[in-house]
Amino acid sequence: MNLNDQTIGNDILPGDIRPHINTELQNGKPLFVSHRKPLEESLENPIPQIMVKELNFYYGRQKALSKVSLGIPAKKATALIGPSGCGKSTLLRTFSRMNDLIANARIEGTVTIDGRNIYDRDTDVVELRRRVGMVFQKSTPFPKSIYDNVAYGLRIVGIRDKKTLDQIVEKSLRQAVLWEEVKDNLGKSALALSGGQQQRLCIARALAVGPEILLMDEPCSALDPNATARIEELIFELKDDYTVVIVTHNMQQAVRVSDFTAFLYLGELIEFGSTQKIFTVPKDRRTEAYLTGKFG
């Protein structure tokens, strides 16, 4: 580990912590200001799956994100928190380029997933979105049957075989802990399900196409406490197999489900680190003020 390596390390983002960082941290020298992570975590997550570098985002003239840089580790749950309008949903949506749909939106900087900048000109957005699933605040079942909702993404890919479809639909519904409730009514309209069931259906639908990353934009904000608890349990299980990024207004929820937390304020990333650290010993005054309810 030569000096050169270390300077690269300084430029790279928090999740990208290689063994040589070890010495650095022990020397008490911060690798990346306010983005440090304890050694044991860094060893578990050698490479972040999503790397955001110097990301600026504009809605017309209004700047929504300002120089955001962070690395989101693979197969962990990362929570984005912050007061309303801080840009956390915008940041989340940049990971699957959902902001492409908004007229006048402009983006600077890079978002790299598995080493490829998804804002490159030659990115296949459809392919990207298949790999990066998304669940929205309001459940959005298609006006189709439960079965067809889950099978839809598979049919788009071109899977026609009934047996394969059946198996994947069942597996996805089981993963989303919905199978037992709907297995006898797969032909029923998805719109007849309750709010919590609809949200789990949306999760199953997102999982069916085999994504690696699951983005969740306040998935529980429209649900009652019971349904919320079920979704949270689900997220907790999903993070073994998927990289989960969740935007939430509910700080208890962030504590319950996430391994890492990023705090955003006025479009800037204020602090990013392990959830435990952020909530117990926040480094930034603003993080502390937000967590203790002084604003937001």
Binding site: S96, M98, L101, V126, E127, L128, R129, R130, R131, G133, M134, F136, Q137, K138, T140, F142, P143, K144, Y152, G153, I156, V157, S189, L191, A192, C202, R205, A206, A208, V209
Partner: protein, 323 residues
């Protein structure tokens, strides 16, 4: 103590005022009395206004029903007796010969409507979806303005247009030109209704489709259009019902025909045309047939409307959350 005293003082001064009658005019009881008096005085006027509103508005509503029922009643009285098997199955008889029917006109109207649908629906539907899903704001506004202007153009102008581009070059009146004239009339109506209903599909639903890796055109085909299908079909039905009774655009396109049409490129009979020519004829027998024809035309429109309300209902059922 001090406070209490001043309170008593107030009470005292109040009593004084009551006695002297300076500000007692607006004591609480007085205000109540005054309001009550006024209330009673204006009661009659208020009741009259209220009654006028209720009866006036319901009279308007009844008038609407009266017009419709009066028309249907007249049609039934005058036309029902002429509705028989022959009316639906036979060709018109020459003047002076009793009996005969308008089979050719009924079939002709249906053929014209089919041609109109083939022309109007794909173009109107496509333009409506494009306006809602793809068009840039300025272009969409230009197209929208054009469709509004087209909706206001008198129907005979569409007939002249079809005559210029289809009748004159082919040197013959034809079913095709009539159907196309009606189809062009349908385009702006279908475009506007389609655009409106497609636009109403919530953005999160489209995003959900895109978010699982669906190309945009498939989101439109599989999610957006099916979600708004009830509205779209209703728009098509309404425009169809409107052009079904059009006479003016057919005058110099379909032209009318007393016999079966020989081909789509030959003149064809149509119910509205038949009604028109029978109604202005001097023969009692033809008058009766005109009434019957009008009755059949209304029935066709009625059936189309029934279909459209069926589709609206289906749409509502699909989106309702009954278990």
């Amino acid at each position: 103590m001090n406070g209490r005293k001043s309170f008593k003082d107030d009470e005292f001064s109040f009593d004084m005022n009551t006695m002297t009658g300076i500000s007692s005019a607006w004591s609480e009881t007085k205000i109540k009395e005054r309001v009550l008096t006024q209330f009673n005085q204006t009661r009659a006027r208020r009741n009259i206004i209220n009654a006028t509103a209720v009866y006036g508005l319901s009279f308007c509503a009844i008038l609407v029903l009266f017009c419709l029922f009066n028309i249907i009643f007249h049609l039934l009285v005058q036309g029902f007796s002429s509705l028989n098997r022959d009316f639906f199955l036979q060709l018109p008889k020459p003047v002076g010969e009793p009996g005969g029917g308008t089979a050719n006109a009924i079939v002709g109207t249906l053929i014209l409507l089919i041609v109109a649908v083939l022309v109007g629906v794909p173009i109107g539907l496509g333009a409506g979806i494009y306006l809602s899903e793809y068009a840039h704001q300025r272009f969409a506004q230009a197209v929208r303005f054009t469709t509004d202007v087209m909706n206001g153009i008198p129907s005979i102008v569409f007939g002249i247009f079809a005559w210029t581009i289809l009748v004159v070059p082919f040197k013959s009146f034809s079913a095709l030109s009539g159907g196309i004239a009606l189809g062009i009339m349908m385009i702006p109506m279908i475009t506007r209704t389609t655009e409106g209903f497609v636009r109403m599909v919530p953005v999160p639903l489209r995003e959900a489709g895109l978010a699982i890796g669906t190309p945009k055109w498939r989101v439109i085909k599989d999610i957006v259009v099916p979600s708004s299908l009830g509205g779209i079909v209703t728009g098509i039905m309404v425009s169809l019902a409107r052009v079904a009774g059009e006479t003016a655009p057919l005058l110099f396109t379909a032209f009318g025909n007393h016999f079966w049409h020989s081909s789509l490129l030959a003149p064809i009979a149509a119910l509205p045309l038949q009604i028109f020519s029978y109604a202005i004829s001097p023969f009692e027998d033809w008058h009766r047939q005109a009434w019957a024809g009008a009755l059949v035309l209304i029935l066709i429109v009625f059936v189309i409307n029934l279909c459209s309300s069926y589709f609206v209902g289906r749409q509502r059922r699909m989106f309702s959350s009954h278990k």
